[in-house]
């Protein structure tokens, strides 16, 4: 100790003072150490793409290659799910944080095979086909992250879809062993068949701490509203059977019951309904004479007659979905796929995705007690509503039930919407089939609000260089009492607008905007200067003899013109120097679903001295070109949004035999 202390205190002099033999020895030693360091460093930081690809393909091959994990018997068990859990108490929102894309990040644990002390697996089936599909779909989606530190939601690869195949205690222990388990915080479990005999609990019996449960067959007493997600029970027939979509309308049977495991009490009730109402009902059951096997699941029988299942479901308007041992029934999925309206009899059942789906539009829910009144209740539903429900049922299946992918991604989207509620899909977006989305009208300005007179309107005059005509228009407009502002769009880049002193004196603010390019679309640009809701757009060659004759567009539509108009159309308008007004009409009709309202009954709109060459709209080729416009616009909008209207708005006392001076708008209509 003493010696080393002495030498080290001398520090730098150590090596020179040593003998050459020793020096080589030491240099060699240090080189080895150095090399070791470098090697370790390289091993750590070398790009590993090449070497690891072999491992990757190996892992992809088979579930049997997944690492085997032995659970000690004493391994901890999570607590049972806490019924009072809600997003704000049991979910760690900091892991999701602010995210410009408003998208949660989901991590999937790598597959492990858990066995107990004696080597017996915790699940009789291991990873099921459906769960593999589900996890594959999630890993292919935008939600997925492979970075466990950035994840907001964790999905274990332990398959708990069917509780029947699980050993409850061991599964719980396996969950608790997950490296990020942390009392189940932000973990999501998928389960479709909860409970077991004799009393079939309505939620997964595996203790799971605070984990979220996406469960099929929740009852109102086990479902934690706003925390759990109610999911459908996937029907394997969804993938096996292609049922073409059928047009909604009346079917051969009115009510069909196709489930096989119906309690005898209910079956007796159904038989009684059948006796009362005869051929309108069809009650099917298992085929007793067929050999057992998977194929028998595709057949149903009634009095010796054999029917194909699920095809037969398409032959009925309503299909009964009765609770079985569990509340969630795979038959619901088959029924929806067939476009048959489900009649759901399962008291206290939380319907699949009930947080976002409006089941009233696609199904009829009847209390189990009222099974005997089912026929009367269903008969009271108007035909058109039944058709609407048939369409909606089929659409629900296509969008949310048809595959494990659909089910999984819908679940994640629901959780995503809770975490970023301000970016959530609206209820209508969840529930409207695409057909409706296209044909319906939905604008942010939907309130039946009549703008008051007080704020007035802004007149936007588009001009090129016809100053005399322009000044006349300005003078006329300025007489209108509700005019708030005049905005002149000076579309001539080669010429400056006249000096301030030359402009007519008007009582309202007048602003001139010089544009960079001579474009007709400039008239609909949402200038910051426009502060009123109403905008009057006029050309400089239109003499407004009276202030009463106005064509109102709304500022909002101006705004839409620039920001919402498909870019294609806008460019086309600018290139052709025509049709900007038609484009505006297309846009307004498309947004409001209504025809424009014509106001003035005047015939003459043109200034007398504007010649045909001068006036843009009088060009010979003009009419032809404008027809061109209409065709082009219709193709870009994908439909013909213009609505035909056969009336116009007149002042109340228009043309009435009444003293002119008492009329609000006496100057309208002098032809």
């Amino acid at each position: 100790m003493y010696a080393s202390g002495k030498y080290s205190s001398r520090g730098p002099a150590l090596i020179p003072r040593m003998k050459t033999k020793h020096r080589i020895y030491y240099i060699a030693l240090f080189s080895v150490v150095l090399l070791g360091l470098i090697a370790t460093g390289m091993f750590q930081f070398w790009p590993h793409s090449i070497e690891s690809s072999a491992e990757w393909t190996l892992e992809k091959g088979s579930v049997h290659d997944a690492p085997l994990i032995r659970l000690p018997a004493s391994s901890p068990i999570p607590e049972r799910g806490d019924l009072s859990c809600r997003m704000h108490t049991c979910f760690d929102v900091y892991r999701c944080g602010y995210n410009p894309k408003n998208k949660i990040k989901v991590y999937i644990y790598a597959l492990q095979r858990f066995v107990d002390e004696f080597g017996v697996p915790i699940s009789s089936t291991g990873l099921s086909r459906e769960y593999n599909d589900l996890l594959s779909a999630i890993s292919d989606s935008d939600f997925y992250t492979d970075d466990v530190t950035r994840a907001c939601l964790f999905i274990p690869s332990i398959d708990v879809l069917n509780q029947n195949s699980l050993r409850i205690r061991e599964t719980a222990q396996a969950l608790a062993m997950l490296p990020r388990w942390d009392k189940g915080m932000n973990h999501l479990l998928f389960n479709m068949l909860p409970g077991g005999p004799p009393d079939y609990n309505t939620a997964l019996d595996v203790p799971r701490d605070r984990a979220l449960l996406a469960g099929g067959g929740f009852s109102t007493w086990t479902y934690r509203q706003g925390y759990d997600v109610s999911i459908p029970v996937y029907s394997p027939l969804s993938a096996d059977v292609q049922l073409p979509e059928r047009q909604p309308g009346p079917r051969r049977y009115f009510i069909l019951s196709s489930q096989t495991a119906i309690h005898r009490e209910y079956r007796a009730e159904l038989e009684r309904l059948k006796e009362e109402n005869g051929e309108a009902l069809l009650l099917l059951d298992k085929c007793s004479n067929l050999s057992q096997g998977a194929a028998s699941a595709r057949k149903r029988c009634c009095k010796g007659q054999v029917y194909d299942y699920p095809q037969i479901l398409q032959e009925s308007s309503f299909c009964v979905v009765l609770r079985g041992a569990r509340l969630g029934q795979a038959a619901l999925s088959d029924v929806l796929q067939a476009g048959c309206v489900p009649v759901i009899l399962a008291d206290s059942y939380i319907l699949p995705f009930s947080e976002v789906l409006d089941w009233k539009r696609a199904s009829v829910v009847i209390p189990e007690e009222k099974l005997s009144e089912m026929y009367t209740i269903l008969k009271s539903i108007p035909h058109r509503q039944v058709e609407e429900m048939q369409r909606q049922a089929r659409w629900f299946w296509e969008a949310y039930f048809s595959s494990m992918k659909a089910i999984g991604l819908t679940t994640l989207q629901i959780i995503n919407d809770r975490i970023y509620p301000y970016a959530a899909r609206t209820y209508e977006q969840w529930n409207n089939p695409p057909v409706v989305k296209w044909s319906s009208v939905n604008s942010p300005l939907f309130l039946p609000l009549i703008p008051p007179r007080a704020p007035g309107f802004t007149a936007v005059v588009l001009t090129y260089d016809r100053i005399e005509s322009l000044f006349r228009v300005i003078t006329e407009i300025s007489k209108v009492p509700s005019l708030a502002k005049l905005l002149i769009v000076w579309n001539n880049q080669n010429k400056s607008p006249p000096e301030e002193s030359l402009w007519p004196k008007v009582g309202v603010p007048l602003k001139v905007v010089r544009t960079k390019e001579n474009k007709l679309s400039n008239r609909f640009f949402p200038y910051d200067e426009i502060e009123t809701e109403a905008v009057l757009a006029i050309d400089d060659d239109i003499i407004m003899l009276t202030s009463d004759e106005l064509q109102f567009g709304y500022e909002y539509f101006n705004y839409l013109y620039t920001y919402k108009m498909p870019g294609d159309i806008k460019n086309w308008v600018d290139a052709h120097m025509n049709c900007e007004d038609i484009a505006m009409n297309f846009l307004v009709a498309n947004i409001t679903g209504k025809a424009p309202i014509k106001v003035t009954p005047r015939k003459k709109f043109k200034c007398p001295e504007c010649t045909a060459i001068d006036g843009l709209s009088l060009d010979q080729t003009h009419m032809v070109e404008r027809s061109e416009c209409i065709n082009k616009f219709a193709s870009v909008f994908g439909t013909m949004p213009l609505k035909v209207v056969e009336h116009r708005a007149d002042p109340v006392l228009y043309k009435d035999d009444f003293p002119e001076k008492l009329k609000s708008f006496p100057n309208i209509g002098s032809l």
Partner: protein, 694 residues
Amino acid sequence: MQAKKRYLILLSAGACLALLFYLGGVELPAARRSRQDRSRSGYRPEQPWPHYSDPLHAFLPWDQTDTEDYNLHISPTQKRDVNRSVYRGKRCRMDSCFDFSLCQKNGFKVYVYPQQKGEKISESYQNILSTIEGSRFYTSDPGQACLFVLSLDTLDRDQLSPQYVHNLKTKVQSLPLWNDGRNHLIFNLYSGTWPDYTEDLGFDIGQAMLAKASIGSENFRPNFDVSIPLFSKEHPRTGGERGFLKYNSIPPFRKYMLVFKGKRYLTGIGSDTRNALYHVHNGEDVVLLTTCKHGKDWQKHKDARCDKDNAEYDKYDYKEMLHNSTFCLVPRGRRLGSFRFLEALQAACVPVMLSNGWELPFSEIIDWNTAAVIGDERLLLQIPTTVRSIHQDKILSLRQQTQFLWEAYFSSVEKIVLTTLEIIQDRVLEHGSRSSLMWNSHPGGLFALPQYSGYLGDFPFYYATLGIKPYPKFTAVIHAVSPLVSQSQPILKLLVAVAKSQYCAQIIVLWNCDKPLPAKHRWPATSVPVIVIEGENKVMSSRFLPYESIVTDAVLSLDEDTVLSTTEVDFAFTVWQSFPERIVGYPARSHFWDSNKERWGYTSKWTNDYSMVLTGAAMFHRYYHFLYTHYLPSSLKNMVDQLANCEDILMNFLVSAVTKLPPIKITQKKQYKETMMGQVRKHQSNFIIITNRP
């Protein structure tokens, strides 16, 4: 010495090496794992989960459901009984704690206990009770009732409050119809008190439902309780102010981005969020102001920031901020709900909720994401970024929705109470209940009655949303009051003219004349079916009964002496197709405020404006027949029947109240007016309007 030194250095170098390998060896597996992860993203970013291709089992063996023959030892009926006995108290649901059989015979009727002498009732609760008593659900016979409402004031259950009713427990238990609270509805605004503000009402509510403000999602029994908004003593009983949004501004930004002004609690429940608000306040477009000045001894508890906060607080005017802000922060108070919520809603200031666990008002039916921003108290510091990231279009639409919701469900005590009752009615008549679209779009659930039809296309309001058009024909309903004596009577001419219209599907003649029906051959032959209905009690209101024979969406309502040509009828129909939710017709009238008499007046004088179109010649949707008959309070209909007049004014009131829009007058030939002014309506000038707008 040398050797010793050498060995030492050798040893330490060896130790270094061993350490290196040891470290490297341990790190290796970890490094490899992270490498795998990275390689996944590098190599197959689209396939991070190995899409196992082995033949895997299906999760559901094909025979599982067959073999699980369930509950052989217990029948479904027994199971339901078990549920009813097990799920009580905090686990009450409609299935277990509500007796549906009471509602079966008489429909959804509500009984209010008679008020007992000496019981003090607060003004707010009095308003609630009188609303129920004036509604169409009310029954005075407990034997007919489906729902019971106490006359004991349960609104304020804060023991420190002067409104607190003592001994409620014994009073409630002694009620003869109490029946452990079954089918009872209890209204409450405040529960619990300092320091923990529990949500317990201080008496055993048994199996009763709660209509409660500030209810937390842990205590909320879904589809059983109803969350109502916190409203003040001054909240009007009926009518109510309209929303403050008068016109849309584009772009939709206002002077402030986000504002709040309110109390700050220094300690205790609910103080965390309000204490932290100053972090977000920037004094420019995010103005969050708190004051410590509340309570008697605030000076004692005040902290270092109080004086500065108080000074800042006094600089701003709350009303000014409310009207000039795009978003309004609604943080929880001591309880979860706060008055700020309704204030912001009315002011078209989009509420930003910071109240974790609050079950928002009427959450069962309202999609709050379309009208408010639901924030998280834990993420307070992100709130400014969040609201700034919201797109202009979304702001516009949020703002409009605040106005719609305010006017549809919140503007008066009456609306809040009726919404509560309608929600419960929807549960009782489950298969005939409103869809979410009816609740969340104009004109709202109170005006869209599901008893009329479950099909949205049968209503006048949803054509645009569904992308469909009304049925392209109309039914004419002619109201006949005078006997048929000559073949040149106006009614016969009218019949012929209307029947010639290309849009006419059928004509219904409502025979409200004391003389017997004329023989069939006396009616002119027409190409469309003419149905003659003899009015049962010949009252005015019967012209608006929802007759089953009306199969078209449009109804042309006509007086017997109306003179119309076929073209005029056709034109009226084409105009109506553009405005199916409004009254479209010929004779227009208006109302005015008579400042001398300080009351409303009615005029048929020629004016430049109009607010009514008389139903003597008007086209409207048949749904209004249903609303007139089933929605309007019977007091108004009785008045109309007694006067044998004003049914047309009432109809205009109804339609305008529903649509918030005026009717549409169409051009007519002059002769219509002459007959109208000649005889039928004698007292037309300065007629007194019969009620405030509903």
